[in-house]
Symmetry: D2
């Protein structure tokens, strides 16, 4: 499968990757068609596979799961006509790094379970940090798992709950679950949305005509012309029917919220918004803060496209140094070409990016990128820029050093592969052999996302574990496997 896998970000092998997007609709004719559009708009959150489950009063539950892009599967009349009814949910996913080789279609969500009171389907964005022990316990009691996905635990916990309604069983199940989760689920008549008590992953509510919509991001409301109503609150469960609208519950013990700050930095689409401000504008503001914290004299500000562009624009506007498209991304990226000879230096990079030599030659260039993970790509881009004749190369990074893996639904390399886990800023600059390398500070990032006082050290306003190593939920399974938390200071 991996060979057939389309790749969207030029260097997503050297990026953190969101692992899932969820979308659900109730109260609109042919809901699955809306879900297909919504998943298409959320494709950046998961490009490996997608699935839709729907329900029709006469035709019951139907589902389809496919590897590949939404646009290549859920656009076919022959498929979509098998997905009738006014209620549907969907999911796009990456595999996690570990299980990638073995990904099977049965790992593709939504998962479906037949209970004695009827069927239910569930789609999950996030990661369950105690999935291993839950799984062991459930197998011990006679559950048969059909996938390697942590999310399947939720269905089995529901099947064994003693509660009588499906929403109550879901509450029961989710109270046993630790970690980050934004869940979109459905019964024959209800669309259900839940966010974990910390609200790590996003989930928003929209309205279109007589129908209701749940989505990971607002950009997917836009594509179907739905109105943004509000974000689902941390720890909230909403149960929605076409007839009675939205009922809200808070089944979990309240906790201070910890939204993932990396959604602002990289994961979310620039045209999504949180708290009334577009992600683009937040990223531009990160560039502004970055320019204030780390000025340098230069001729041009260039972005590593496309994700570095908003911060580069902000940097340019704050610094007064002109922005230019010094690196151009090949829009037909994709598979791996056969390398003809070793004479082609950095062929992998050239396939995806090209330096605008005539612009760059002889110039002092500021390169703005969103993050540095392994550092492998940064090195190659620097070489391309120098090959093209740049006089100086100054990296400015729109996030703090990524020093810790994420266990809440993001695919990160093991800690030892993160460049920032073993080097400080200066060591990284030397390692990459650039004229300078500067990251935005954690406080600067908090200011850019709208916290004028910066980070609250006592109780950070966001989950920033990937930068700080402070994990708001104990990663139990990982600790059992030997992961060591940051020593208390």
């Amino acid at each position: 499968m991996s060979k057939q896998m389309p790749i969207a970000h030029p260097f997503d092998d050297d990026k953190l990757r969101e692992e899932c997007g969820v979308f659900g609709v109730v109260g609109l004719k042919d809901a699955a068609n809306f879900v297909a559009l919504g998943l298409h708009a959320l494709q950046h959150r998961g490009q490996e596979a997608g699935g839709i489950v729907c329900h029709h009063p006469e035709h019951g539950f139907n589902n389809a799961r496919r590897f590949g892009y939404v646009r290549d599967n859920f656009t076919k009349e022959s498929l979509m006509s098998t997905l009738p009814g006014p209620l549907a949910i969907g999911h796009v996913r990456y595999s996690t790094a570990g299980s990638k080789g073995q990904t099977a279609i049965r790992d593709v969500q939504p998962f479906f379970g037949e209970f004695s009171m009827g069927g239910a389907a569930i789609a999950h964005n996030g990661n369950i940090t105690n999935a291993d022990s839950l799984r062991r316990e459930l197998i011990e009691r006679g559950s048969i798992f059909q996938s390697s996905s942590d999310s399947e635990c939720i269905i089995h916990l529901m099947a064994r709950s003693l509660q009588r309604t499906i929403p109550e069983r879901m509450e029961d199940a989710l109270r046993r679950v630790e970690g980050a989760f934004s869940v979109v689920a459905m019964t024959r008549t209800k669309l259900i949305g839940v966010r974990d008590p910390l609200g790590v992953r996003p989930l928003v509510l929209g309205k279109l005509a007589e129908g209701w919509v749940l989505s990971s991001e607002t950009c997917a409301l836009d594509i179907i012309g739905a109105e943004f109503i509000r974000e689902i609150k941390p720890g909230e469960m909403v149960v929605i029917t076409a007839e009675n609208g939205v009922e809200s519950h808070f089944p979990f013990r309240p906790q201070p919220s910890k939204f993932c700050i990396f959604e602002h930095v990289y994961f979310s689409r620039p045209d999504s918004s949180y708290g009334g401000r577009s992600v683009y504008e937040t990223r531009r503001q990160i560039g502004v803060e970055l320019a204030r914290e780390n000025p340098v004299d230069a001729d041009l500000v260039c972005a590593v496209p496309d994700s570095g562009t908003p911060a580069a624009i902000g940097y340019s506007q704050e610094s007064g140094i002109p922005f230019a498209m010094g690196i151009v991304r090949n829009q037909y990226m994709g598979r791996t070409f056969i390398e003809p000879t070793e004479q082609i230096r950095n062929m992998g990079v050239r396939l995806k990016l090209n330096v605008n030599r005539a612009l760059i030659e002889g110039k002092r260039v500021i390169l703005v990128d969103d993050s540095v993970v392994r550092g492998t790509t940064s090195r190659k881009i620097k070489e391309m820029i120098l090959d093209a004749g740049a006089k100086e190369v100054h990296f400015r990074i729109a996030s703090p050093p990524t020093a810790w893996p994420c266990f809440y639904g993001v695919d990160t390399p093991e800690r030892e592969k993160l460049l920032a886990a073993t080097m400080n800023e200066d060591q990284m600059a030397e390692h990459l052999a650039v004229d300078s390398l500067k990251f935005i500070s954690l406080d600067g990032l908090y200011r850019a996302v709208g916290e004028p006082e910066g980070r609250n050290k006592k109780c950070p306003q966001y989950c920033d574990a990937c930068f700080s190593g402070e994990y708001p939920v104990r990663p139990a399974d990982m600790i059992a496997k030997g992961f060591e938390l940051k020593a208390a200071e």
Copy 2:
């Protein structure tokens, strides 16, 4: 085929489209692998199909032609291993509007012919304006055509030439041909490049290690790390061997050159360069000129992505009005989704673009686009911007009104479908219902491409027939079919 066809520009159904790209290599091991990379970099010049012919001293000529993207076909070891040898040429193509429905794999270039002195392959970017009459004449004499392509004439003319070498036969053939052509051809030992006497389509020469490269654009030299040597001159034929390097001939009667000015405006990649200046920089300069000619008071300058971006940056820099990503392009564009209801306004546009509502709301927006062809897309984009709450919308177009079809290798609608063929600027503004609509002037465009005095009316420095209606080569076949030239003034 058409349903499977990927679409790269968000609205290329409302754009002029380059129809071909050519690439050739001699003197490098496994030349076909280099050609695959070159064609990948030229994919924007033709996305429907691609072909490669190569020659190996032992295995002779081999070829492969495929519908679809280069990256999806010419990356497979199983295919590429059938294309050995140090000499190869390739071609990417669009079908022309007319024959689209009937495009067959046999219309995919390069074309190959077996002559008594050996085989030759030929790939052609441009359009032969007297192909119909040549074809009739050749059939009358017993030639069997295997494709509907105008380019096949060249092979048949070569087959019937009385000259003794293949390059001489090619000269013979090309002297009978009218129109625009940049040709890359090969025999068992020679790589051949030819540009028509006017030099309408581009062709450049590069060098990599012991090998030589011909390419439509410089960006395809970059991808394989080849050094740019020079442009092939209008009317020049180069015959290249690994042993003797480049021999240059000028087989045609000299004429003033007429490079296609639209290559600067839209066709070429922004990271290609002509005359030492990057296309990006030229487009930015068009934005500067546009701002000088057509200023307007506003809050934001936004581009219609991606092709309007460089001019929008130029407009912003010249006017001082901040640039912002007010419209975001969905990077997973593609097939047509099933429209769930009529409640989704402008769904076609929403699939490809999304307005950054939080940025746009309440703002006066300048929208910079590269061209207006039918005007259908401009109208929809304006509606999206207004739906998102913009207070004013001012269109600024980085090219003069497109009022005439191209007959030199570009796919244009019939004249009556070009908005500018029947309306002036004010009528178009009214038709599109925007607050203002302004095009760059023809003189402004000439200044931006590096002619400080503007357009030489007596003998224009470029082919600008699509703007001016002044065709440097008489389009004989089209006139025979009833096309009326602009009345002499």
Copy 3:
């Protein structure tokens, strides 16, 4: 999927169809390759899909399930290399008539379950007649079913068993199950085979070098060169390891055996053997009995190919009337062609069979077929024979009238669609408008399969429910759905 499905028997839409074949190997390197060959030899028992599960000490369990023929899937190096290890089982299947439209890859066996003491896989030939009530009960207790297959019950029953070893859990599970089953299963180290107490479906044991083999039929032992050891006995469970060989248990209450007599008539391959006699020879003997019971004066004996051929040869040998290939089967059968006009009479038949007109013309023809189910095909074949100029057509059927559906793993139409359910022999002859139509008697059939005294009415030696309506196991689920058993006489 259904359109792509190859069809092997010329008129299997008018035949009873075996629903499954099973095969397993332990103690041979790359056991999955042997299983692929075995399934290929059992393809006639199930053509819709196939699956293999295997185990390797280092690589653990692996599996692959595919729609389509074994030869089209399990021959690819890329797939087979993912199935390592010395222990493997496999399954080929038809869908049952009911669920055909909804067949999903998750219905394809073997099924796999992870238990606390390790994983196990199971493949099942037969049908569980109390599956519906078992399923309801298991869901009530919290089991999540992933397929619509009756066989999945076995895995869930095993998961909930209180026994400590997998073979013991399987005994536990199978004691709850009613109906017909020949099961091949595996753990990490054991190959397990079980036949239901009646022994309705076949299962044989073979040996190859150091390894052991279980197979539905002997023909699949032949393909891998394995030696036939013996049949697994009704009610027997064998647990086989490479080290200790075959252990035999009898976990069920003993009952008189009831092997399916239709395996002799039609399902099994002619080169398989039961009780030391080849199925071909038994079928030839049926033809001999048929000739004795129902002689007629004629010129030629022809078979409805291919399944009628052995009985036709026997009929010819007994009657002295020459055998001839009066009907020739098109070996490239397959998909449905577009019917060009209504001028083509019986096009469906012509695609599959052609009458040898020059042989048939003016002749009195005896046509030997294996069975009459709906009678639709018999009618068309008769018309073709008459169109070709035959003077008389006498049908001789190598099985008694099929008047009752099978509930033990064979796909039969509903009772009302069986021609023999509503007509006696004479009525059928009239209905088909043939000169005569005669079936072998039930006693004649028993004689041919080796019971010189014929059928033991008190306790029939075989399951012949499809002819007699006497069901050896009460079809509980079907009765719950309204099926009426034959009234006691």
Copy 4:
């Protein structure tokens, strides 16, 4: 492509193979659908690829060429709806041994040419023995060949003819051509059939309602329900229109006819007929002659299925030794499986055939096969029979020793690979290590095909070059490549 190629005869790698079948229809609505059916019935004459060209008064000429079986391509509504009109021709083909690796879709017939008086398409069964020199001559004059097929010469000769109508140009062209050809061709209004002066390859005329049909064999008339009218005569050209019916010409110098005797032995389907006698009956008669010439005492007569069956039946009937299905063919043959170990003896054979062990054991077996080419298969089958316990194996071959290659449209190995080229009957028996091996005599074969006096040595009634080495047309190209004719006696 070759890996995907389905294989129909169990050992067609050790058989002579017919290379083509042709079919044409005029005067029936949607003629292409009839052609699809006809080609399906002729699939045994060419399984690699098929093509159809058709003409519709409004939609002009259309065509489709596909690799693979007719049933897999020309049954799709999406394809067939692109082939409208009342006039169509088609072709199925094998590649010849030599060019197999390079077979391209452009080698798939029918070939189409646009002449000044309109288009024409042509499909050819046979082989042009002077194609090489014709090709050289045509290239010299400026023709561009698009395929490696000998048949393309005919189109180019037609293009250069000075005649004014297409039928006249075809006569002109075919008079330059040497070898064997049965041609079906079409213009916009005419269906044309031609047989070479010797009539080596078959071609028959049929009638269906208002329409006319041309076909390689009568079995393809049967499939569409057309009436057999007559065979096209050697040297005859028929020009057929819906309005005027059949016009007959004899454009070539008359010669004694030389129909290919191997069409009777192996190529044609058993349900086709020549001269009013079915091929099945002829083959049965060969068996009768074989039994008379070569009797032996034995227990069973078995056929090597399926092609040896009619002769085996004849042998059994003449000898009185019972016929039995001692070898059963796997009807799901196809691709190559991965050989699990070397423990499987003769795996290639086992995949295709299985010996009915219970029948064979301890028996003296006569095995009837249609021919011996390389002898590789005969050897393996003998081993299987002995492995199964046969006491004696006697081969009886239904054709004389195949000692010479065919140059008239049949794929034969080079002479040195033909077993009979270097060994006599006894040597072959010893080489194959069988108890006896006997071929039918050439005279016996002539008697069986209806020549009571046997072969006319002065002027043989058939082409039997593969047995006798007497080539009725000088194979000019092969002689130029070094082939040595049999020395005159």
